[in-house]
Symmetry: D2
Subunit: 347 residues, 4 copies
């Protein structure tokens, strides 16, 4: 009953098999292998973006930090939600890779930035003594397990682009968003104003690979140098390419995301039947945020359930009836039986 994170589970067998198949003989490395050319072609096709520049790295933090560093100068700031991964979970990697640039955080219910807040923050910039507006970063699916629709993305990038700002999408769970929304990859990205997408694989069935997709290759001109100086250029790059190729093959990525989303929906629906449970955010992708009486969480943990308390200051020690916020994340491998077992443990 592991629901801590979608990166605590296994890789999909098809991905693993592709890695094994890639282990044949000698190849050029560093992205020069034939498989990488196929990955680029496939992503261009999927995104209807024949010019897109595609690079692979091993972690989501690397993907985001390198992508943002290509968008902003060190005296600029990236606008993001105050709960964004780049702000909260990357130990100042964006600031590091962007040589000291800032993040400016914006409020917004359910993990989503509101256009007015963005507009306000951009217009509040002053002169040379103030950092300049640099870029917009959206996370989709969000850290709250909610979604931006293509229209919502477009509205926000519209505000940013009117001020000349490029737009980044942290898509660590992009597949979950896409599977839930049912729109085309292009509609949720470049057609909605996104310049660079970090397309996650790790949380959705890969061992460790993320694609950075610059829809306008000029935006990514610095990426290769930045990746190398960041220590993120793999010599045996074929093993990254193999993962990504298998992940995209036959729509596997969307199938896996749909499974994860379905498990989360099942869980959210089941929680409706548990006394004292209150969903904190709509369950739109593969995560469920719920306030539950502490005693229920404690009991579930005793029965083997694994999850996070969302506020790092909360603990399972304390009054039984106090509501405590917990996060349950479903990965692609999560079954209905496991969800049922969790609900039983909580209920």
């Amino acid at each position: 009953m592991w629901f801590t994170s979608d990166n605590a589970g296994p890789a999909h067998p098809a991905v693993l098999e592709a890695v094994a198949r890639a282990n044949e003989g000698f190849t050029p490395g560093y992205g020069g292998e034939a498989a990488m050319a196929r990955v680029t072609a496939r992503i261009r096709e999927i995104f209807e973006a024949p010019e897109a520049m595609v690079h692979l790295v091993g972690t989501g933090t690397a993907a985001n930090a390198l992508a943002l560093a290509c968008l902003v100068r060190p005296w600029e700031t990236v606008f993001c939600h105050h709960e964004a991964h780049v702000e909260v979970d990357e130990c100042a990697a964006p600031e590091f890779f962007a040589d000291g640039a800032k993040l400016t955080t914006l409020p917004g219910a359910h993990g989503r930035i509101e256009p007015a807040a963005l507009s306000d923050a951009i217009s509040a910039r002053r002169g040379v003594e103030n950092v300049a507006a640099g870029a917009l970063s959206l996370t989709n699916a969000t850290e709250a397990g909610t979604l931006y629709t293509p229209g919502a993305v477009r509205e926000l990038t519209g505000v940013a682009r009117a001020a000349g700002l490029p737009c980044h999408m942290d898509g660590a769970r992009f597949a979950n968003a896409l599977a839930a929304l049912g729109c085309s990859p292009a509609d949720l990205t470049w057609r909605a104003g996104i310049d660079v997408l970090c397309l996650g694989g790790t949380k959705n069935g890969c061992l460790g690979v993320e694609a950075v997709v610059f829809f306008d290759p000029a935006r990514g001109a610095e990426f290769e140098r930045r990746r190398k100086r960041g220590g993120h250029l793999f010599s045996k790059h074929r093993f990254l390419a193999a993962q990504m190729e298998a992940y995209l093959e036959g729509g596997l990525w969307l199938d896996l995301a749909a499974r994860a989303n379905a498990a989360a929906r099942l869980l959210a629906e089941g929680l409706a039947g548990i006394a004292g449970a209150r969903l904190l955010h709509p369950c739109e992708a593969n995560a469920v945020f719920v306030a539950l009486p502490r005693a229920r969480l404690r009991a579930a943990e005793a029965k083997g359930a694994r999850f996070y308390l969302w506020d790092p200051r909360d603990t399972l020690d304390g009054p039984d009836e106090d509501p405590v916020a917990a996060r349950f994340v479903c990965d692609w491998s999560k079954t209905g039986a496991e969800v049922a077992a969790l609900l039983a443990a909580l209920g």
Copy 2:
């Protein structure tokens, strides 16, 4: 009628004369001149801190950024008020000098951080993926022209120190705070938990000099290297030392600050008699923040008054009666006659 900033006015003649006197013959530079030893001794005496380490630089941004860089590691964050100079007016210099460290901004009325907000922000830190709590930075007098009393400083540093955080004071207007509070320099700094003070000279009668005072010299061990690699070590350092020596001589610094404070108070009191004027912050030091009908500001500007609209999005074009927030800052040279002239222009 210049009220834009306390750095728009002249240096005090005594400071200028000291610079001229320092221009005699040959001396070692880089802080090795005899005058610097006297400056250090004088600051130690004033602050009752016989071990304090003292360095001089030419700008307040350099002072703050170098001081903070000595306190935090690149994966840590500095807690400061959301209107703090280090956040708003230094173009990411703290982030640059601290090699990518972050600032985390806190709300608080009238430019002052509230202890509960600080406590909350510190305790919300998570694990290795989150930036660590690094330091507290207070500005005194604040950006809103208000003060922290020794007790208020102590309360905030108490929260910080309980979490192991060192404490910085941006004292670009420290003299104004001290002159207004009437307490001892030690009471407002190290006795109240401050580890390093940036003691401003530029805004209060100098040409361009700020002292960085580490009350525990071990905290400042890196300062000299950081200053040199930041390009802030002056070869003809004697001209910085001469300014600071004259500034402190005979309490000149406090006299000048008291004059500036008195002018601001006069202005604040005068504004009480102007229809439609509303003070936005208590006037506790040398700045007055006031909302005035736009027509009054427009008229004053036409008569030669110089000041800033506080919100960069405001302009003097617009409905006459709308209240617009303006900042008026008094420097040491401001006379009662000038204040009266301004009031007349506004009234």
Copy 3:
């Protein structure tokens, strides 16, 4: 006939199988998985270093840059050979991770720093205006395919340590050095004065994993934060741990290195029989540097041989008889038959 690099070949099947086996169910990530504890224990045992701190990353550049960043401050310099990987092949990653620290390169025949050159460079440091001496970095096996014996390491670290400098070993090919020298891992590292070893796996049979071993864990106190902010902390870290565990299991690492070394030796011996061939460095590990008449290299390439011309300005176009320097590297999978084929193609 691929002899371009030891990272152009496949991973060893045992390593790949371990990765597959690791793909079972849910585990904590980020190094918290059980396998990582086993890797640490095994490395401590192998190196007779029960206190050693061990971390894994995905690339050699990340390992070196992160390790060096833990040893030096931004105003210090790392002494290294002028052909060192950290200087020539990492696109300023050490400078990036160490926040602007320098590398100072030293000459030395056959890829080895000479103690007198190191001593001279250290003693030439001046005052605060000069960067300070920061650390020593040795590569073993060297970029020239030669070795430092334990005695040679000791002599160099002795010079460094007398000046208070910590010592780093880039061991991307440490296994090759160890297999060739036949000494104990401890003798070639901490007993010879090394503080931190980057123990390569990628070039010697892994998919992509390097261990950073701090013999004094205090030296590595910053590593975890630096790794995370560098984007080098893998969520599904189990796949790194699995590789390293299999790599060390039963001495596989040394067996593979010995195979590679033997192939290189065979090649070097065979070259002795080829007219016009001249070894540029003694062949002591798994690489052969040889000057050959251009026509021979051209012919070999035409027959399918893959290798690097060592000087980026050389080409295979030009007078037939001119000697051109080429590098041939053997990985663990290289067979005698392949070496013979290469010799035939060249001869």
Copy 4:
């Protein structure tokens, strides 16, 4: 008898008087004062460069580091002489301001880079794993007190520009070079291929001011932001502008440099008559590098002479007759009588 450095002496009275005159009333700061517009106009006129962008900072290290940061990206390297100030005397400031870029040092007699060495270093660059060639930095007058003629500058910038590299001139002693060469400022800079000049004032009669002159303003587009985030934008900027204006007024800068050069020449000629003295570099500007028997240096020091031993490892303790390298620098205030006194003390 101070000959340690040209920054150990006083400012010229005319410069000091200009500072005093500037201390009148209120002005915009941050370079917005009227005097700065006059400085820009004057420098454009002197350099026959009507489009030049001019900025002022307080130290030579700031000028060089900020200028270079505008020319190179963090994965590029600056080619400079191995004794260049940017390499030896700035505590890694260029690396800091350029966010981790490198310097690649080149050999060359008498402080001058040789075109072949530059050409060789540029062409030795490899692929993405190597840092890219970024810029050329020349120092004129050099650290060895010698000069590059316009022709010599042109030859070196020709090599650089053929490879697409911009060219920087560290002109901390540019006035000394110009006064000695008798050519036009334009001939020694932009007409000879220089993109940005750091024009020193501090060593030649100012208190602390350097101009950074971008002949193509597009090259300097980032300068203002970089200066602010470096803490080098002075609020009371009028005092920098006043210095520079007085320094250039009526050719004062060249008069002062000519005086310093003449004193150095006198010294060099006088040394020819001292037994055991051997000039180490031709005396072409305002510094004399000479090897003298240690006893002579010791005796001079005892009589009050102040100078530097060039090798930081040398001391005045040791065998009397051993030749020891010393540097004597003449500033604008140095008189023939002082030079004669030094010669007497040495002779």
